[in-house]
């Protein structure tokens, strides 16, 4: 810069001036730059850093898995799977395989048509339809719904810009219609106020145990590079997802399927309105709760409320003659009668303002208490039952579980109606003895027989054996509470008496199972139709336990309003036999080793005892 030779002072001052101008210029420039630097670093630094962080921060939802529903052996009844919806951005796709209007790759076409040609074979959609979907200036078009992740992988491997996916979960029910009314249906997910998707169960256990099954989604925020890799040592915060709890049921899916297919076939055959099969063991663990009509969970297009109901718990009905067992149990336990007590049963019986009949015309019959039950005589039951006060009978009805809901907490469950003696109207005092004028659900009806199978001790019915948390720790549910209802001796006498029902002179020879002693009871009741508001049609039922000498299983078969055949013995009996035979084999129950009880059904050497009666009793309507 400085010159070697000193300049004379009186020379042209221009160089000096030039120097100053330069200096000022440089200083000015530096000041501007410095100022800007101060502005950026001092004032806007935080805002800029935040913007940069936002650009490279990515949020990912970590999805929680809804709990599974499994049967007693771990067979899956309901599970959640991941599905993808394919979304297209037509505006981006319009430039497929093009750059500045020139084709990039010779192999592929260009624009929507080119993209569709690639996509259509993978997705299995018609190419023209797909082209139409991909054409447009909008930014969102749904191309496919609910494809498997594997298929989405293939789509994503094509690498078409503008094709993205949205993750969905889908609930699948491998056992289909067999257990859909029990397990329930999960409707479409909805978005709540916080923007989280919430499953909306429609029915069954999915709805009852929603709080257990539903998980909580997590969130991961991390800094990502352009290629999608996580930037090492960058900020990262993770909220772990919490999976739902899985339910282990007491249900045996094989029995459930067997029961469901048997009752569905019978409902179709008899033109019944609905049908139910309940299978439980003597500790009242529910092994099957089948209900027809049922719904195919893969096809919810024509869903009706009736198809969603599990009628075993949600429908109450007047049980009819199967409730005579309660009256008999009370008579034996109170000591007013024994199985051999003698009754002279007239052809008709006048009580209060009504004349009662049996299901068939007869003169005076000499029957024992066992005979009254075997032939399902209404009049005989009244003669036995009226030896006790209404309060005593009411106490037994309640002790056997009638009139109060089970502890299953199933959605829509009904507790049935059992009137208190002080509220009886007309002939109700007598009709409740043979099961009219009170209503129960199928599980309550089966529960009476399980109590008798369990030597008089009633266990609260259970449906859920245990739960397992997301870590897989299994927690057994507490066993149902037990109460003694009748003595072991009374229970045994009742089992012996009920063996005659499937005997030759009983009302349900169709229900006999070779090799096993069966104790059971038919029911053919007048059905109260709530739509019509009056009695119309019948409820045909058969409930039984086997083996009668060492009871293991109880099966209840109930048909509502069958049109072609409404007798409990001949309509429900065969279903009982079919299902019980299968269940005994499936559970590995050994055949009976004891001879049949063969209690005397008549007394006084009456030849009339030889006559075969093949019909169940039709109870008289209660004067409501």
């Amino acid at each position: 810069m400085s010159r070697r030779r000193p300049q004379p002072a009186d020379q042209n001052p221009r160089p000096d001036m030039r120097m100053r101008v330069y200096t000022l210029g440089v200083l000015g420039g530096l000041t501007v730059l410095g100022g800007r630097l101060v502005q950026l670093q001092g004032a806007d630094a935080n805002a800029l850093a935040d913007r940069a962080l936002e650009q490279r921060t990515s949020e990912t939802t970590l999805y929680a898995k809804r709990g599974d529903i499994l049967d007693d052996e771990g067979v899956v009844l309901a599970t959640s799977v991941e599905r993808r919806d394919v979304i297209a951005d037509p505006r981006t796709i319009s430039g497929f395989n093009l750059r500045n209007g020139k084709q990039l790759e010779e192999r592929y076409g260009t624009g929507p048509a080119g993209a569709a040609a690639l996509l259509a074979p993978v997705l299995g959609i018609d190419e023209e339809t797909l082209t139409a979907k991909l054409t447009g200036t909008n930014r969102y078009a749904k191309v496919a719904v609910g494809i498997t992740p594997e298929l989405w992988q293939q789509v994503s491997d094509l690498g078409i810009a503008g094709i993205t996916s949205v993750r969905q979960t889908q609930r699948i029910y491998p056992t289909g219609a067999a257990s859909s009314t029990l397990v329930g249906i999960l409707g479409t997910a909805e978005t709540d106020a916080h923007g989280n998707t919430v499953d909306k169960p429609l029915s069954g256990l999915e709805s009852a145990d929603q709080h257990l099954l539903q998980g909580r989604n997590g969130l991961m925020r991390y800094e990502r590079s352009l290629g999608g890799q996580e930037i090492p040592l960058g900020n990262r915060e993770t909220t772990e997802p919490v999976d739902g709890t899985s339910l282990h049921l007491t249900i045996d899916s094989d029995l459930q399927w067997k029961a469901q297919s048997a009752i569905a076939a019978k409902v179709a055959e008899t033109g019944a309105r609905s049908g139910t099969v309940v299978i439980m063991d003597k500790e009242q663990r529910l092994l099957a709760l089948a209900s027809a009509p049922s719904i195919d969970p893969t096809n919810l297009a024509h869903l009706t409320n009736a198809q969603l109901q599990n009628t075993a718990l949600t429908e109450s009905f007047e049980p009819g003659s199967t409730a005579k067992v309660v009256t008999m149990a009370a008579a034996l336990e109170e000591g007013v009668d024994t199985a051999a007590s003698r009754f002279t049963v007239p052809g008709e019986l006048k009580r209060s303002d009504k004349t009662f009949h049996d299901s068939h015309e007869h003169g005076d019959e000499r029957l024992t208490l066992a005979g009254v039950l075997a032939q399902s005589s209404n009049i005989g039951t009244i003669l036995a039952g009226e030896k006790m006060t209404a309060e005593v009978l009411y106490r037994y009805q309640r002790a056997f579980g009638f009139g109060s809901r089970t502890t299953l907490e199933f959605p829509g469950e009904t507790g049935g109606i059992v009137a208190k003696p002080e509220d009886y109207s007309g002939t109700q005092r007598y009709t409740v003895m043979f099961g009219q004028g009170l209503s129960v659900n199928a599980v309550q009806a089966a529960s009476v027989f399980a109590t008798i199978a369990n030597d008089g001790v009633r266990t609260e019915p259970t449906l859920i054996a245990g739960t397992s948390d997301p870590q897989g720790n299994y927690t057994a549910e507490p066993a149902g509470e037990t109460t003694r209802v009748v003595s072991a001796a009374t229970a045994k006498t009742l089992r012996d008496m009920m063996q005659a029902v499937v005997g030759e002179s009983g009302t349900a020879a169709d229900a006999a199972i070779p090799g096993y002693l069966v104790a059971g009871k038919t029911g053919t009741a007048n059905r109260y139709d709530s739509d019509l508001g009056r009695y119309s049609g019948y409820t045909a039922s058969f409930i039984g336990l086997a083996p009668a000498d060492e009871p293991e299983l109880v099966v209840a078969v109930i048909l509502q309003d069958p049109k072609t055949n409404y007798y409990g013995g001949s309509a429900a009996g065969p279903v009982f036999k079919d299902v019980m035979t299968y269940a005994l084999a499936r559970r590995g129950v050994a055949p009976s080793s004891q001879p049949p009880a063969d209690l005397p059904l008549t007394w006084g050497g009456d030849a009339e005892a030889e006559q075969e009666i093949t019909t169940g009793a039709v109870g008289d309507t209660a004067g409501q």
Partner: protein, 139 residues
């Protein structure tokens, strides 16, 4: 000047307690051999800095490389879990009682009629031949 130094300066010089006749002999000692660095100090500093920076760079490269590897493994893990889910789903579908029954019927199998039991009392029950399969599928 700090206090200790002033104190030291003003302190009386301690005399060695030697006899006046025997004066200490002073000898010339050779200085100890100083290990000379082969490298001049500035070069050493630069080298150390360079090595440090190089190490840092290598570590960073390794971490970045691992990030890529993690991403690749995550993709692979996603693929495998998709596959696993698909297989589990298909197993659940095929092992449902309904499907098993249908497959058995397709193979011409029928449900067993009344089973016969062998017990200590001999044969219990009566063996009946299975009905020949007809088109009436129990659905």
């Amino acid at each position: 000047m700090s206090q200790p130094l002033i104190a030291a300066r003003n302190a009386p010089v301690r005399q060695l307690k030697t006899s006046a006749e025997a004066r200490p002999e002073l000898q010339v000692v050779t200085p100890p051999v100083v290990r000379r660095l082969r490298l001049p100090l500035p070069v050493a500093c630069v080298l150390l800095l360079t090595l440090g920076l190089l190490g840092l760079l290598m570590t960073n490269i390794a971490i970045a490389g691992d990030a890529y590897e993690i991403t690749d493994l995550q993709v692979q893990s996603q693929r495998l879990s998709n596959e696993q889910q698909a297989v589990a789903e298909s197993l659940a579908q095929q092992s449902s009682p309904e499907q098993l029954a249908r497959r058995a019927q397709q193979l011409g199998m029928v449900a067993a009629p009344d089973p016969v039991h062998l017990s200590e009392h001999g044969v219990v029950g009566k063996a009946t031949p299975a009905p020949s399969p007809t088109a009436s599928a129990a659905r």
